[in-house]
Amino acid sequence: GAGVSQSPSNKVTEKGKDVELRCDPISGHTALYWYRQSLGQGLEFLIYFQGNSAPDKSGLPSDRFSAERTGGSVSTLTIQRTQQEDSAVYLCASSKVVSRNTGELFFGEGSRLTVL
């Protein structure tokens, strides 16, 4: 597709359930980012994948959060045993990386997660 695609666009779940959020980056983009956007909290970095390198997981808020990127393309963010404070918009972005210089990030529409 032309842009970064995220699904689902909206997810309502009960506290304690697991959720999976999917990101399909722009073809050819080697870098993929996940961010969380909460009201009044700005954009919180979660995790960064770049090519075949080990991902930078330094932003994941707890061990309930994990992400993987299969085949250097699609990524899945998994939240286990969801809590109400996990409610937020989860944004995915991708970019080209040339000689360690990251180009413009292109963002998806986001997945809005509501934990009841």
Partner: protein
């Protein structure tokens, strides 16, 4: 640790007023800086970026930003705002050491018609 901070959290202006939003960064290595905008109900989009060269960069919709290395700043400016500029603005930076894009807290701009 790398960080980006924005000084103004909520700015209210009248149309035709001038705008300046502050952004400071703390990084090691070569830094690339960006301003992103999020209009109500829309996704984030790039306003402008600085990689190297001329420290005064011009972006879309009449916005510009100046990279001042000595002040670790990358403030966003627009000479005359319009009602349609009402949005949330995010400063962001990447260090070549990490490749990780970090955002500031964001500034909500409200332009009164």
């Amino acid at each position: 640790a790398q960080s980006v901070s924005q000084h103004n959290h909520h700015v209210i202006l009248s149309e035709a007023a001038s705008l300046e939003l502050g952004c400071n960064y703390s990084y090691g290595g070569t830094v690339n800086l960006f301003w992103y905008v999020q209009y109500p109900g829309q996704h984030l989009q790039l306003l402008l970026k600085y990689f190297s060269g001329d420290p005064l960069v011009k972006g879309i919709k009449g916005f510009e930003a100046e990279f001042i290395k000595s002040k670790f700043s990358f403030n966003l400016r627009k000479p005359s705002v319009q009602w349609s500029d009402t949005a949330e603005y995010f400063c962001a930076g990447i260090s070549s050491n990490t490749g990780k894009l970090i955002f500031g807290q964001g500034t909500t701009l409200q332009v009164k018609p």
